[in-house]
Symmetry: C2
Subunit: 408 residues, 2 copies
Amino acid sequence: MSLVVQKYGGTSVGDASRIRNVASRVAVRHQAGDDVVVIVSAMGSTTDDLLQLSADVSPNEHPREMDMLLTAGERISMALMAMAIQDLDVEAMSLTGSQAGILTDTTHGGAKIQDIRPFRVREALDAGRVVIVAGFQGVSPDTKEITTLGRGGSDATAAAMAAALGADACEIYTDVDGVFTADPRIIDSARRIEEISFEEMLELAAAGARVLMPRAVEFGMRFGVPIYVASSYRDAPGTWVKEKTMEQAIVRGIAHDTSATKITVHGVPDRPGVAAALFEPLASEGVSVDMIVQNVSERGITDISFTVPREHAEVARTTAETVASEIGAAGVDVAPNIARLSIVGSGMRAEPGVAATMFRELADAGVNIDMISTSSIRVSCVIDESDVERAVECLHRAFGLDGGTPDE
Amino acid sequence: MSLVVQKYGGTSVGDASRIRNVASRVAVRHQAGDDVVVIVSAMGSTTDDLLQLSADVSPNEHPREMDMLLTAGERISMALMAMAIQDLDVEAMSLTGSQAGILTDTTHGGAKIQDIRPFRVREALDAGRVVIVAGFQGVSPDTKEITTLGRGGSDATAAAMAAALGADACEIYTDVDGVFTADPRIIDSARRIEEISFEEMLELAAAGARVLMPRAVEFGMRFGVPIYVASSYRDAPGTWVKEKTMEQAIVRGIAHDTSATKITVHGVPDRPGVAAALFEPLASEGVSVDMIVQNVSERGITDISFTVPREHAEVARTTAETVASEIGAAGVDVAPNIARLSIVGSGMRAEPGVAATMFRELADAGVNIDMISTSSIRVSCVIDESDVERAVECLHRAFGLDGGTPDE
């Protein structure tokens, strides 16, 4: 008998029949003898409907009340899920984030989980019940206010709850079969990864693989809770994300991300402090900067390029322009149609030359590399958006991810 | 400066523009210097939508989860209301029933308010805020479960909150202009009542006047909080419900109710204990019995008639049939197309013959009386449903409620 935390996203609970479908999966698991905690998101369209309502009522931002509003979404899905499970003769009860003891800081709309005190969850499990917990929401013990966790919040709820309960696994059910060697929507030969390490998953997620949120992986890594990602629609095997994998892959997977914008500050006087002068104001504007590359200086003048999420592009441009004129730089360029392309694998540490192979393959495929950044288990390049498909395809084959032999 | 609790029902907050309309009424009141607590129901169609969702998911009853589900409704309307009020430069915050300290018993779907500990409400008022509180919901301190108050719950929340805060008034805003001398939808000459006593209002409400729920009136009466009923759409004057009125009316108003069913047990052996034998099982089946009339016994045999709400009719019939065969009665008759017609006025106590006048007027109008029941300030008759309009009209004129002189 084990204790599992399962998470089902908005699409998986999108209507009455999908809710009943998830309920029967949960019931089967419970009847097999496992203790089950189910984390649910709001039903597919609910959040959009609530956002539309609030836009109809008010053009302004109301962070506290927005959290109050949006948390109605999981309240609805969790109550319906509990009903559907009870109908299968399995005792079940739903708990809000607050009732489940999910304690957060005070940041409305993007709160961080600080602690979980799952007394009521344990009590209900001990009584033989399936417990359904609202994802994405918590309560701040400082202000007694209801908070939401922002992007990836329900995955974070699941992993954190699994950690707090000492669960045997955290299972994230979604609309794909698991984590793939590349995006299966563009690469036919992309294969499901059976096992991947936490750190590889973190790098892939940060590099654009949308299947699992970095926040959830961090909880799993920190507290040693294995995460299983699989389809909520069928019983096909998924992907295990865990501390150690049997085999260290040189390249475990390829991720790409076309949602970034590249900003370049030209003709920057190369003196101490210019990078700080640029990136401090960006940070205080809340712009999240991903890759940064500073060119080798020529005659005391250099260029600094960086990528930001598309939604931060306008603020980033304005800020960069202000800084550019203050530090006497020549100007600012914005390139919206770029892509970040990354290869990730913990085996890279032991295998020199992986980056070089990537660069050669891209060159042979006629793909121009615009920026490069690396970590110990990842190499990322910025390329033109129109080259993405070709680039992923050639690397997928080159590193043997399609099942063939890697290029020598 | 006074403290008022205002309640707005589902129609009054039915869409974005109505929410903004209520918000501006509240803001004006607050800017005039009053402390305002606003109780809101769920938006017009929300509760029906949620009930439909739950019916799609499950054919069974799930009282706890149904309360969890339905309380999402007020959560949505209260958050939107707070946003709309904030947009008018008035500080506002919404509180759930639980946050507002509304403590109930443990009965899901029909909980009773046991206590209100409005610490957070007071704190927010002291900070100069308008407080929006979810109607219809509370929390049971025994089980820590979210409960709903059932029918009339939001009015009860308002009156109980007004009592707990020692408010100067509880204002119930609705889709009519106040309490009328008769139903203005069928009687053109029906007039708004300016003042009515708690006990008269209780009798009228129990007799079928839908404008205000008896539960709210009871709170007002018990704690001496005047209740004001008025339109949420226009600034027309409404009706004050209070302890004492300036003038005791002989007949304050006429109410009718066509939602009852009459059940008659025929040929009942007239011996001690037969009434108990009938009404005890009805009570334990949860049937709420209104009027009861037992005929004068002839040769040791009598008939017992009683009225029940239409939704209890089927259970009442089955129960009565079982009892009838046990006690050796002749049989059970069900009359669905009846109406209860009541006149209410505290002046009746000092004025004998009011009931007689009512009976004569009805007789002159050719309306047959089927059952009669009286209290010290009310006379009710059961008549045929098809006679209702004519009967109300003749009594309304006869007792001078249309502004004319009462018949001598």
